[in-house]
């Protein structure tokens, strides 16, 4: 990705990243990324190697990502609250040559790196910035750029494998429909470990705009201040972000003349929320979107269609195709429900090291060399071809825009002291869309303490996966064929 270099050549003095007290220009970001690339090569990172990044949103994370790419290596962005076991798995699975973190996370990262066979830990980026030349052989579009880990419906997280070509194609397509340009100033409160957050960085640098990067969305007052003080033009969010913003007192009285677009993905916005967003931000266009890491983004609704089709996620993103098909591969007509299929240069190369899972998602396509993506999600279209999300084939929970797989949490619960059985369901939640609710029963002779169960989970899972509620049952309800009755649990927990 030569975008950073190009932006630095055009306007080295322009702000690239604004993160808290730190501002870096394109010239400086380019110099830091080049310096880190040299430092990585000195640390024996080779072209094509994988390098994991465990950092909160900030300048260092941007330097790490562009430094890794400049070195010809591929990055794996990981949630900064990742725990030992999962990090060790990801490092081992990706065969990481190194992992970049900060001092706060060095302890956890070092332990996991040791368990993964002695992966090199770089806990001080600054100390690895070297003066140096460019790599002798820069990567080309078919080279590996990133392995992004995402939870699957079963088993361990899988690495979505993306080339430079995949990522630049997806970035260009999204830039096109959002009409992003150099004058854009995007506020990113989403973690860079989440592909939605990551692409804010990639797209903003691609157009040479400015990315205002926040640690998260903890303090919405700070976000409101930034919208005004930084003249933000674009605000990507998930439903939780918009629900919290709309709950704030005084926001509707702010003019925010620069704010020209808002975007939503991760989960659908309820129709009343769409109305409230448009009243609160009358000058901004709202984009409803749908996607999955395996192709980055699949569809977007042109804002002028919002009144006519408020619940649609729209049309395939520019330069791609999408259709709905039945279990036998027949293309379905308007109104018929089937699986959404995607084709285009944004479709991943597969799951890292996992041909079986890859074969489930990537199917033979129109041409001998082509593979199309089976999303696993159920959709229908209307008479004009606009797409509507109907449901998931699996029991995935979407909480705060993040994907939560019940199985992963249930595995942790089953290992918790005193737990006999566990079932995890999503319950509707005002702010999160869905909240994680765990139902457990105790082993004979044990009693379960709800707080202890949550603590056990908090020590082993990323924050957003920790059940917000735990209910202890004598016995979990069962269906007539003896399986745990999830729909009864979902109903009971309302």
């Amino acid at each position: 990705m030569e975008d950073l270099r190009a932006a630095a050549a055009r306007d080295p003095e322009r702000d690239a990243i604004v993160a808290r007290e730190r501002r870096v220009t394109y010239g400086e970001l380019d110099r830091l990324a080049g310096g880190l690339a040299e430092g990585l090569r000195a640390a024996d990172v080779q072209r094509g190697d994988r390098v994991a990044v465990v950092l909160p949103n900030g300048v260092e994370a941007a330097v790490a990502i562009y430094g890794i790419l400049r070195a010809g290596a591929a990055f794996s962005p990981l949630n900064p609250t990742i725990k030992h076991e999962k990090l060790a798995h990801v490092l081992a699975d990706s065969g990481a040559a190194a992992v970049i973190c900060d001092v706060e996370r060095a302890g956890v990262v070092q332990d996991a790196a040791a368990d993964a066979g002695g992966v090199r830990v770089i806990a001080d980026i600054e100390g690895h910035i070297r003066e140096g030349a460019d790599p002798p052989t820069p990567p080309v579009s078919v080279d590996l750029a990133a392995v992004i880990y995402t939870s699957g419906s079963t088993g361990d997280p899988k690495g979505v494998t993306l080339t430079h070509g995949n990522m630049t194609f997806a970035a260009d397509s999204i830039v096109e429909y959002l009409q992003m340009e150099e004058s854009d100033r995007v506020l990113c409160v989403l973690p860079l470990s989440f592909d939605y957050g990551l692409y804010q960085l990639l797209m903003t640098v691609r157009v040479g705009g400015t990315l205002v990067l926040e640690h998260g969305f903890a303090f919405p007052g700070r976000v409101v201040q930034l919208l005004e003080s930084e003249g933000i033009t674009g605000l990507p969010g998930v439903p939780t972000v918009f629900h919290v913003l709309l709950s704030l007192r005084g926001l509707e009285n702010r003019a925010l003349p620069e704010l020209r677009y808002l975007s939503n993905t991760g989960q659908a916005l309820p129709a009343p929320t769409i109305g409230a967003i448009r009243r609160t931000f009358p000058n901004a266009r709202l984009y409803s979107m749908y996607g999955l890491t395996e192709c980055k983004r699949a569809a977007y609704l042109p804002p002028d269609q919002l009144d006519a089709r408020p619940t649609s996620v729209g049309l395939p993103i520019p330069g791609t195709e999408a259709w709905v098909e039945d279990e036998n591969g027949n293309v379905l007509g308007p109104g018929e429900v089937g699986e959404l299929m995607i084709r285009g240069a944004h479709v991943m190369q597969g799951y890292w090291n996992d041909p079986e899972a890859t074969a489930e998602r990537l199917r033979p396509g129109r041409w001998p060399w082509e593979r199309v993506l089976a999303t696993g999600d159920l959709f229908r279209t209307d008479d004009d071809g606009y797409l509507y999300f109907v449901g998931r084939r699996d029991d995935l929970i979407k909480s705060g825009g993040e994907k939560v797989v019940p199985r992963e949490i249930e595995d942790v619960l089953h290992a918790a002291p005193g737990v006999r059985e566990a079932a995890v369901v999503g319950i509707s939640d005002r702010l999160l869309g869905q909240a994680v609710h765990a139902h457990v029963s105790a082993k004979p002779g044990s009693t379960l303490d709800v707080a202890a169960v949550r603590i056990y989970c908090a020590e082993r899972l990323e924050d957003y996966k920790v059940p917000r509620q735990v209910t202890v049952h004598d016995e979990l309800p069962r269906t007539s064929n003896g399986k745990i009755d999830r729909s009864a649990l979902s109903g009971r927990s309302e």
Partner: protein, 88 residues
């Protein structure tokens, strides 16, 4: 420090301990410690915290008030509630 501030401080500490801190048994929370840095309150936790402060102390929290300076620590909340109350 006023007696009122002392009450706020103790009540907020009890609230934080009861609702957030128990998930992190290893952490010793001091009044000046930042919730976010320690990772004990996440973004939804702050929404709950703000709602608690509004209902418990009857103060009106404006959009731009929800910042680290006002809600980031026990010290911060205590100061914020005291300022809001004295300004009527």
């Amino acid at each position: 420090m006023t007696e009122v501030a002392d009450d706020v401080r103790q009540e907020m500490r009890a609230y934080i301990e009861e609702n957030f801190l128990y998930l992190h048994p290893g952490i010793e929370l001091r009044d000046a410690d930042q919730f976010l840095t320690l990772g004990i309150v996440d973004s939804l936790g702050f929404v709950e915290l703000v709602e608690e402060v509004q209902s418990r102390y009857g103060v009106t929290v404006e959009d731009v008030d929800i910042t680290e300076e006002n809600f980031g620590s026990i010290d911060a909340i205590t100061g914020y509630v005291e300022r809001k109350r004295s300004s009527g």
